[in-house]
Symmetry: D3
Subunit: 231 residues, 6 copies
Amino acid sequence: MKMSMNNLGIVKRNIVRADRAAVEKLARFGVATIHEAMGGVGLLKTYMRPIYSGARLCGTAVTVVLQPGDNWMLHVAAEQLKEGDVVVAACTSDNCDGFFGDLLATSYRARGAKGLVIDGGVRDVKDLTTMQFPVFSRAISAKGTVKATLGSVNIPIVCAGAPVNPGDVVIADDDGVVVVPAAIAQQAADAAEAREANEADKRKRLAAGELGLDMYKMREPLEKAGLKYID
Amino acid sequence: MKMSMNNLGIVKRNIVRADRAAVEKLARFGVATIHEAMGGVGLLKTYMRPIYSGARLCGTAVTVVLQPGDNWMLHVAAEQLKEGDVVVAACTSDNCDGFFGDLLATSYRARGAKGLVIDGGVRDVKDLTTMQFPVFSRAISAKGTVKATLGSVNIPIVCAGAPVNPGDVVIADDDGVVVVPAAIAQQAADAAEAREANEADKRKRLAAGELGLDMYKMREPLEKAGLKYID
Amino acid sequence: MKMSMNNLGIVKRNIVRADRAAVEKLARFGVATIHEAMGGVGLLKTYMRPIYSGARLCGTAVTVVLQPGDNWMLHVAAEQLKEGDVVVAACTSDNCDGFFGDLLATSYRARGAKGLVIDGGVRDVKDLTTMQFPVFSRAISAKGTVKATLGSVNIPIVCAGAPVNPGDVVIADDDGVVVVPAAIAQQAADAAEAREANEADKRKRLAAGELGLDMYKMREPLEKAGLKYID
Amino acid sequence: MKMSMNNLGIVKRNIVRADRAAVEKLARFGVATIHEAMGGVGLLKTYMRPIYSGARLCGTAVTVVLQPGDNWMLHVAAEQLKEGDVVVAACTSDNCDGFFGDLLATSYRARGAKGLVIDGGVRDVKDLTTMQFPVFSRAISAKGTVKATLGSVNIPIVCAGAPVNPGDVVIADDDGVVVVPAAIAQQAADAAEAREANEADKRKRLAAGELGLDMYKMREPLEKAGLKYID
Amino acid sequence: MKMSMNNLGIVKRNIVRADRAAVEKLARFGVATIHEAMGGVGLLKTYMRPIYSGARLCGTAVTVVLQPGDNWMLHVAAEQLKEGDVVVAACTSDNCDGFFGDLLATSYRARGAKGLVIDGGVRDVKDLTTMQFPVFSRAISAKGTVKATLGSVNIPIVCAGAPVNPGDVVIADDDGVVVVPAAIAQQAADAAEAREANEADKRKRLAAGELGLDMYKMREPLEKAGLKYID
Amino acid sequence: MKMSMNNLGIVKRNIVRADRAAVEKLARFGVATIHEAMGGVGLLKTYMRPIYSGARLCGTAVTVVLQPGDNWMLHVAAEQLKEGDVVVAACTSDNCDGFFGDLLATSYRARGAKGLVIDGGVRDVKDLTTMQFPVFSRAISAKGTVKATLGSVNIPIVCAGAPVNPGDVVIADDDGVVVVPAAIAQQAADAAEAREANEADKRKRLAAGELGLDMYKMREPLEKAGLKYID
């Protein structure tokens, strides 16, 4: 098949979701830990913030490409949702309109969705907070959108600077949003677990007053780099 | 009378406020609902945010034009306040100084004001939160201001991108700030009510798992627009 | 000694901290009051925000210069901390990486630190909130940093637009962050106290409905400036 | 007639344009001079910049409200253009797509337009420069737009923070964009002329080394304000 | 082979570059035309701007991942350059340091490179302009960088919001930067050619005064959408 | 003398300017070279840009603290200017008004000034370009300012993130603005000279096709850092 130039106007129905057990394991760790465990990749831009304090989500991505000021594809995406999914929506240009509100949240939750990550705006923040439906967005805006122009569902996207494929694991908390490719979900979960175990001991030693300079053996490299202590 | 070129240095004392009953009815609805009911106009820029979570206000606008770094006119405005008013302040250039704090809030409240919307900065956030005096602003800044240069009170202004006339209704909540012209306040309130009634049924159907695709009859227009489903 | 062109790669061990009693007195006042009492200087840019609502700190500055994406010097700074210190970190260029998290916070607290002010990003926000370790930062980011390039500790810095010398008093609350030079800490505390006493009376009069126009005797200067009242 | 809640979906055909002679006179002055002559009102936000160095325009406004990512109304506006008009386009939300390019410029020029002021993006900058078709915009973007949703033509708008009515005079140069209400165009032109005449003498005196302190008689007010000279 | 979690620290030497003839054909068209011909995908964010007026480039991508404040990988990339390549550099976090200057440009040119696209800062702008070495960047900064931390060369990246694979065609001009996947380079070039041919006729008709409303047959859909003309 | 809490309202008349010969020598080098030669300090934020292409200045700083929307102190500063000075102006809060235009430029030039660096806006850009009066600013704005509130002249300031003392050397070109403390002006000039000499040879070798990898002996440290080459 010839590669298409244009991947707008497409809904892919069958996607391969990351392994359920791996997703559940990843849900136990924070975004910073997972991002670090993966070697420092997969993070969305820091302008993506939770709409209420304490929001947190972990699930498999159903991806959406939106057009500015148009949320038609968020309705199309609802049909593709399975239990445990997170909708991850990008837009063809920077736009902060309120693409999503409490009606869509009600629908998404009824379809099993765990939340929304959207490089755009959302509204009905009070209702979404009452529902405890976690949303991470670029903005909050009361401005509604039209339903006139096609985007796509379940194609590879770039959301807030990070590549996301349908079925990838998306984890979000107070520290931001990270994407784990489906193929390495288990590996990333294991690495996060190892990392966290490692940190417990460090925390105890630091709490007891030990210096990171000593614990991480930084004194020699610092001296080598030329650090001078003066009085 | 010849139209003046310059409308700075003016305080208009008698303004026509929106009908009280209409204002009270508008107070029952959210910003997103009202904005939608009005056909998508009257919204302030999304950078206008509440200074504390849950802040909400609805009242008739007393408008103010400020000069950068100068809050003199906020003092002048106090005298023009009537029960149920909201001060809406613009600035002749972008400026985030702390034009407003707990002393002015105390004065405004004593004069019957419901809150403040300001395209600038405010300070004493902790005290304002304790007072539960709702403020929607562009920024928070501890920097005080001088009282040296005239602006105006109760002239037509543009605040954070939206035109506001003295007496208009201003409603603000977690989703942002919207302005309803006084002349259509009742009409907007009725439209908001109709819209909200309409949404209750939709919410129920979506919660039961019905798809927006079906409820809004989107399948045919989507197909017509060329949407392709692939597996 | 010839003045050095380059002050990177230096750790100054002995710094003169502001008088303890003055620091404790300053801790009783808000940032807006202190900033005003000092005549309107020493404020950091308004993009510096607390990572959790209600965060507040007051202490003596241990200053740090960071390199973008590199938190090595935050580890070096830990050793220089004394009871009551606040780490104030600038970066050689704008960078929002997560330079600081719960492990460093554990170490800093063990060393007696009162909090952190950083013109960069931080992470582990949930843990820092649980610890109630106050941080004022430019951003939140899960992205970690390397330990490869030298900056400095306890040299004069510019942090978010304000000059900070080691030993200066740093106060931060909901309204922002202000720096008081060590040499005038007592003087600033006294001025803040005087200012606050002065405000209590004003607050009472304004609450009783007196206008600022009268209380501050503004009517004459406003008229002189040309203010016109129209009906 | 009942005031409509919604002014989208409207094209007003007959508008009253500012007096031709006044427009021609205004064309002789710079934006800074006109803005000053009007008493400091009517300026668009400073993010509005010429797409090529030296661009300059002066004409009567045909106003347009666009929807994000949709330039349909720019085509509708073409039919309403008369010799000497300038299209002034706002958008219902911040959007930097390329709403306008060389084809529309060709059409606009054929209809007599003097240029474009748009609170959005434009493209084909090289061609527009070759044509010397002056455009002042918020951004440059190669991204095209759809033609799917109605806005309006020749209704009162807010463009980049300034209110613009159809028929107003719009002047733009290296210093920015200013709007003169049609009703005061002649008055503003006269005031600008007076101001400029006034400046020629000042320029000569300053060039000869006279200080503004003396020419503007600032020494006494500065001393009164408390300025201290130290050595 | 197990998929690696971490793709930093890698240089891929053999990459498949887009077909030379297709690249040469694409070089004849503007960014806006190519972007439109591809169906509206592949555009970098609009903050990517040429460092001098008239800069323009077209070539095959050698991709680079940089660390903030560190240009080590730009030196590593030099060795991988072949005649006709363009270096496309992303950074693991937003950073505007001057990663690139005239020395690297001299080296790149000697190796056959056509220019640089970098989501970061550059310096020596005067020299680069004299050399006519085209650079599209996010910023200009005199601040140099260290060589301490690994990134990668020739892995898939996201640069200023757009996915770029090694060997893809990158075209940049006054309107911005667009990426054409290597596999569809010829198809995109043909589509751009068809589009441009199509435009010549339209331009002629519009120049003769024909309205887009008629030429594009918009009157009926506008009426159907509800557009009202009033006088 | 007791240290004053407030340094506003002061004009210091006698300042120690950097050595003339050192200033002249520094004028021969670019900002990037000088910044590098000084070890990477003294650079202003990258938002400071020349108002016309090719602007360049080098001189001794007369510092100014402005209040937002108020340029009174720029008039006061004129009297303090000596041949070879550059006015460096900061503002007590972020403000982009047009503080400076062609009249002040005429006066400054008559007093011997070499240009202006201002963390604010300027206007009359066309005239300033014609005069070839170099200005580096944060913004361009036609909006004028008042003369109502005191700032200071010739006190230590922070301008666009960099500390500047009266008499320091300020150099600006296409790459930005750098400040050299007066006490190390000669040392910095010598270091810049050495650096530039060093670069000529490198440029020649790179132009001949030698790789930075070899010239800078990077292969071993890259390998040590773990860089992997794959095919």
